[in-house]
């Protein structure tokens, strides 16, 4: 049985790499898309050696939205599953001082990902099949002083995914929203994260593979996060604004 291709957008991140492995392990050909794609040659060789699947590399910059259409047209084949792992956290303090930095965070987490998924959605819609996976964040569930620039962009992305799902539900196209919670990645290296709340990238990857197979809508990787976010969302604003959380 030949498996359909899987496209990974933002393929350099730890979550993306783990997700590529998880799908390749099931025999899917993999399309890795990122900036300076040629530097992913070692990842390509790794996937080919481990799983004997075909892997292609594609130049892709989430912020160059005018090129997204051309990027999709150049793919060897329209993927069946597309995963968007594009994102950029930045430094909250810098985002407060420097508007350009803040805008970059907003564009990397909302504008870029939404742009490419919108184009993919139209093509999937036309074909009448496919699954889109957006990796958003629990940070988008409620704005907090410590990372609201990043959080607000993720909130936008989460809403976009929810709308897309609503639009495509009857068209045979499925949309998965992933809210990973803390993950031990390059992005969070050096942060002091609580062990019980922190997932390994391979856990996120396995959760994505399962969510795609079972057509889940919104997943938290570690179940405890669903509870945590329910509580955080429920705190009245009058109290929330005085909290350090």
């Amino acid at each position: 049985m030949t498996q359909p291709p899987v496209l990974i957008l933002g393929a350099r991140s730890d979550i993306a790499k783990a997700t590529a492995r998880a799908f390749a392990a099931q025999g899917h050909p993999i399309q890795l898309a990122a900036r300076n794609a040629e530097t992913l040659a070692a990842e390509k060789t790794d996937l080919e050696t481990r799983y004997g699947v075909a892997v292609t590399l594609h130049e892709f910059d989430a912020l160059e939205t005018t090129r997204h259409e051309a990027f999709l047209s150049a793919l060897p084949e329209l993927p069946r599953i597309a995963i968007c792992a594009v994102g950029h956290m930045g430094e909250q303090e810098e985002n407060e001082r420097d508007t350009a930095a803040a805008i970059r965070v907003m564009r990397s987490n909302y504008e870029g990902p939404a742009s490419i998924l919108a184009l993919l959605a139209n093509r999937f819609d036309e074909r009448g099949s496919g699954t889109l996976v957006g990796i958003s964040s629990v940070a988008g569930e409620r704005g907090r002083a410590t990372n609201y620039v990043y959080g607000s962009a993720k909130a936008g992305f989460t809403a976009f995914l929810s709308g897309l799902r609503n639009r495509l539900a009857k068209r045979g196209v499925h949309v998965v929203t992933v809210l990973p919670g803390f993950v031990a990645t390059q992005m969070t290296e050096g942060m002091d994260l609580p062990e019980k709340l922190t997932a390994h990238p391979s856990e996120v990857a396995d959760a994505i593979v399962k969510a795609v197979a079972r057509r889940r809508d919104v997943i938290y990787v570690r179940p405890i996060w669903r509870l945590i976010m329910t509580i955080i969302r429920a705190i009245p604003e009058r109290i929330f604004k005085g909290m350090r959380i």
């Binding site: 392990a25 070692a42 990842e43 060789t45 790794d46 050696t49 481990r50 799983y51 004997g52 390059q186 290296e189």
Partner: protein
């Protein structure tokens, strides 16, 4: 951050770097005054901790090539043995040598020169290593093999990371017909019977014994000897033979919290051991088991090291030369039974001949035991050290967390030559672990 080995003792504060490329790794070796590489943290003690700079190798986990003609895999050092199995068992290949956990990195397996249940026939991990790319003290990479930089190759295997950092390696796998093992269990009522069984089973591919270390008198050294062969297609049921490499996913359990330290005591361990022996003796004979249960029974219980509680545990593993093995093992087992210190995981294994500059194995018998860390067991292990030395044995550094430099020196006539090698290549000051400092290697 706080670091410890699999035994969770000792716990040391260490600065950890996790490079994502060989170039970044080389830069760290150049910029830090001393470093040690750390794989997946399965050495029991402080072998892979350097308080000043510990280099976490787990991001360097890419496979580079596979030759389906020879079964050679080339990979970065952070690739896990379990990943190798996951990728190549479906294509009919299995590691030539595997330790009791698949959660070790290739770099770690080479540095500790791990052994498996087939040591008496196939030797240690060394035998399957074709070459190593080693990063030296200046950050330079040298290809080491039996043909090229031979001394460095020989000393790096079993060198506990003290000759440099293993960046990549090529290892050879063995062809197998299935993912199943034909296991034969032979009960041995005492040590003499166990040794006789091992000696008669030299032709078996795999052999290992679980040993009841609380047996005394007539039952001293009571064991279940388990032999294994890779099952051929003819050994399998028609259902198994149709997909010989699919053995089914095993359910993983995990130990969710640290057991309180009173859980393991003489009574509970004695009861467990009796039950385990009689169950084993009852089902003695031949059965077909999957590779994961056969080689890695404990891997199915993630975090099993937590059953020893917060204070952690130590593993004592020694090897005694063949001629002295029976007398030496009796002395060790009597001392343990006398103290009544519980050990669930007591393993006895026959080693074949091996000559190597610093690796653990030698021809004879190896005994491995776990003890929770208490004042009593620490004192017991010192007495076991002395017995081992008296009988001409030595110790497995991948398991050690508490030996003294004097004990190590007394057990290791090869130490001086190993040091000379480190000095000759300028590695002595640069690659250091808490263990190498403690043992004054």
């Amino acid at each position: 951050m706080k670091l410890s080995g699999w035994g969770r003792y000792p716990v040391l504060e260490a600065r950890v770097h996790a490079p994502r490329s060989v170039e970044a790794l080389q830069a760290l070796v150049r910029s830090e005054p001393s470093v040690i590489a750390r794989g997946n943290g399965r050495a029991y003690g402080d072998s892979a901790i350097n308080p000043a700079a510990t280099l976490d190798m787990r991001h360097l986990d890419r496979m580079i090539a596979f030759d389906a003609g020879t079964g050679q895999v080339v990979a970065e050092a952070g690739v896990l043995l379990g990943d190798v199995i996951a990728s190549f068992l479906p294509r009919g290949w299995f590691p030539m040598v595997t330790p009791g956990t698949k959660f070790v990195t290739l770099g770690g397996a080479i540095a500790a020169d791990v052994h498996g249940k087939n040591h008496h026939r196939d030797g240690s991990f060394r035998e399957c290593v074709d070459w190593i790319d080693l990063i030296g003290a200046e950050g330079e990479i040298r290809r080491c093999s039996r043909e090229q930089n031979r001394a460095l190759f020989e000393h790096t295997i079993g060198g506990m990371g003290l000759t440099g950092i293993i960046a990549r390696a090529a290892i050879r796998l063995r062809p197998v017909e299935s993912g199943w093992i034909r296991q034969t269990t032979i009960p041995a009522p005492n040590l003499r019977a166990a040794i006789a069984t091992f000696e008669e089973s030299q032709d078996a591919t795999y052999s290992v014994a679980w040993i009841d270390c609380l047996g005394r008198g007539e039952t001293l050294g009571r064991s279940l000897v388990m032999l294994g062969e890779h099952a051929t297609r003819a050994d399998l049921s028609p259902v198994q033979a149709r997909r010989p490499f699919e053995t089914g996913a095993k359910r993983k359990r995990s130990v969710p919290f640290d057991f309180p330290s009173f859980t393991l005591n003489r009574l509970s361990v004695t009861a467990f051991n009796k039950l385990y022996y009689w169950q084993g003796a009852r089902k003695a004979g031949v059965e077909i088991v999957d590779w994961d249960s056969y080689f890695y029974p404990l891997d199915a219980i993630l975090g099993w090291n937590r059953i020893y509680g917060r204070k952690g545990f130590a593993q004592f593993q020694c090897v005694l030369p063949l001629a002295e093995a029976e007398r030496g093992l009796s002395a060790l087992l009597e001392e343990i039974a006398e103290t009544g210190a519980g050990s669930f995981l007591a393993v006895l294994k026959r080693f074949g001949a091996q000559e190597s500059p610093f690796s653990f194995p030698m021809e004879g018998y190896t005994l491995a035991l776990d003890f929770p860390i208490t004042r009593k067991t620490l004192a017991l292990m010192e007495r076991l050290d002395q017995i081992t030395i008296d009988f001409g044995g030595r110790f497995y550094l991948a398991k050690d967390s508490r030996m003294t430099a004097a004990t190590f020196r007394a057990s290791e006539p090869r130490l001086r030559d190993f040091r000379t090698q480190l000095d000759a290549q300028g590695a002595a000051r640069h690659f250091r672990s808490a263990q190498s400092e403690r043992l004054e290697i």
